[in-house]
């Protein structure tokens, strides 16, 4: 039973079609990624799910409820981190969390949340004086302070340094393990690969792929690539005769073998049989980056 169901969602701004036709379902307890280039319609989509924008067509159901009609109920049960939203300059970290906690029937402990997000030393600091990453963490904390069943996080770790990003990832994993379903809009492939159970890739207002991270990678680019420098001249045919190999190229003294299956084993065995040592051997597998480029024709921004 999915907790979020989006069917044929359509949203225009004047003449501009921001979301053309988007459908997906999010299962309870999963981390669902929404990936796509700038302007693809990710924010518009998740804000329709959060009930902040009114779709021009299609249906959205969250926890079996309608985000607009049942807004009052859903606001208790869904936490939202908006992509662009600030707080008053003089508001302090602890004040913000305590105020937001007071809005919910069964809130998390603000003090504990502050510690968990590494803001303990900043609890009495005014919003204006926080760094970008600290503001971002406060924003995540505010989305979680109501102990939501679903958390919608738009651009979770944009602006965080690598360490803070990893800390945030483990926080999200903790949150998920407590049973919260998470919808994550992101630009970072590494983040999507590490956190998401499934990913919808959105481009120009449409879902162009929906799969697990590994599924996306293998469906788009199943090839692997091996590079090495042979210790002795090698006949290409030795390699091309292997069923796993699809192509062999040379760049300078380097040999690049592309193929599928257990390519590494096949290639190293044939080299060993011919007493050739492979120096600087590297196996390159397609990544989510490659899949992203293939699906959307864009380089990921991160």
């Amino acid at each position: 039973m999915p907790v979020i169901e989006v069917t044929r969602l359509h949203k225009r701004y004047g003449d501009l079609v921001a979301v053309d036709e988007v459908s997906f379902a999010v299962e309870a307890g999963e981390i669902f990624g929404v990936l796509g280039p700038n302007g693809a319609g990710k924010t518009t989509t998740v804000e329709c799910v959060a009930g902040l924008r009114v779709p021009d067509g299609g249906g959205v159901s969250v926890l079996g409820l309608d985000p607009r009609r049942d807004a009052a109920q859903l606001r208790q049960r869904v936490g939202v981190q908006l992509q662009e939203s600030q707080l008053p300059d003089q508001l302090r970290v602890a004040e913000a969390l305590e105020m937001y906690a007071s809005f919910y029937r069964d809130p998390a402990d603000p003090a504990e949340l502050i510690e968990r997000l590494g803001l303990g030393a900043k609890r009495n600091t005014a919003y204006k004086k926080l760094s970008g990453g600290q503001k971002q963490r406060l924003s995540i904390a505010l989305a979680l302070v109501g102990n939501p069943e679903i958390a919608i996080l738009d651009e979770l770790t944009t602006g965080l340094d690598p360490q803070a990003r990893r800390d945030t990832w483990s926080l999200i994993e903790q949150v998920r393990s407590s049973g919260v379903t998470i919808v994550l809009v992101t630009h970072f492939m590494e983040e999507a690969e590490r956190l998401c159970d499934r990913i919808a890739v959105i481009d120009k207002g449409r879902v162009v792929a929906l799969d697990t991270p590994a599924g996306l990678v293998s469906s788009v680019a199943p090839e692997q690539r091996i590079r090495f420098r042979p210790s002795a001249p090698i006949d290409d045919r030795l390699l091309t005769d292997l069923p796993e190999v699809s192509a062999v190229q040379r760049t300078g003294s380097q040999v690049v073998v592309t193929g599928t299956g257990d390519l590494l084993h096949a290639v190293t065995s044939v080299l060993a049989r011919n007493q050739i040592v492979a120096a600087d051997l590297r196996l390159e597998q397609s990544t989510l980056d490659d899949a992203f480029v293939e699906l959307t024709g864009h380089r990921p921004v991160a």
């Binding site: 902040l52 908006l82 662009e84 939203s85 508001l91 004040e95 007071s102 809005f103």
Partner: protein
């Protein structure tokens, strides 16, 4: 109710923390009253003020400072800033409504105006022999309607302005007009008669405050105009206000 209480508490703290706001709305008017009151001549009845002393004559204008600052300067700027920065939008994702924030801001404005009025009346009475409002009911009514008219205008500015900058750009001329016709920049007895007449009908209606403070009941036409402005601007603001 719990949520609204929290919002009111935090917004009040932010108001006080922003030093300039309480200073200009509450401290400045009463400080000016004290400064003028310390000049002996300002405490003598004068014929040109209708046998009132200068500070008696000028006290309603000091109250205009509070009203103008609070209702047409601070209120629209704060609201437009909150909207521009997505504060209202974020609140809309929670069980608390952004309307609660609006209500809290209005309450803070009202409280500020009330505190300043009480301070001016009390300090005037205790320190400088300014009598208490002679027509308490009329004074209360004049203050209420004048406040309502200015708050409605402030809300209208917040509704029409898209950004904090444009709210400022609209609020400043309005603020200056209110201050000028309220006799703050130039005491009204110096102004030509037609400007004084315009001032009678410019929110918050300084003449009605003066009349009811010093003896007469306020003119119905002065009060009526304030009620009309309050309703018209209030209706416009309600129609045009956007949370994002």
């Amino acid at each position: 109710m719990h949520a609204f209480g929290q919002i009111l508490k935090i917004e009040t703290r932010l108001f006080l923390r922003d030093f300039g706001s309480p200073l200009t709305t509450v401290v400045l008017p009463v400080a000016l009253l004290v400064v003028f009151g310390l000049v002996p001549a300002a405490r003598q009845p004068e014929v040109q003020f209708g046998d009132l002393s200068f500070i008696q004559y000028f006290a309603p204008s000091l109250l205009v400072i509070t009203l103008a600052m609070s209702a047409v300067n601070i209120l629209p700027t704060v609201l437009a800033t909150y909207r521009e920065r997505g504060v209202l939008r974020r609140l809309a994702t929670t069980p608390a409504s952004p309307a609660a924030l609006l209500a809290a801001q209005l309450l803070i404005s009202l409280a500020t105006i009330l505190v300043s009025a009480v301070l001016l009346i009390a300090v005037g009475r205790l320190a400088f022999d300014v009598p208490l409002p002679r027509h308490p009911l009329g004074f209360t009514l004049a203050l209420l309607l004048g406040t309502a008219a200015l708050l409605a205008l402030g809300l209208l500015v917040a509704a029409v302005a898209r950004t904090a900058k444009s709210a400022q750009a609209m609020a400043v001329p309005l603020f200056m007009a209110v201050m000028f016709f309220g006799g703050v920049y130039v005491p009204r007895f110096i102004l030509p008669d037609f400007l004084v007449r315009i001032g009678d009908y410019t929110p918050p209606g300084v003449q009605a405050l003066l009349d009811s403070w010093t003896g007469a009941s306020p003119h119905l036409s002065h009060l009526g105009i304030m009620a009309v402005v309050a309703m018209a601007a209030g209706a416009g603001a309600a129609k045009l206000f956007r949370w994002e």
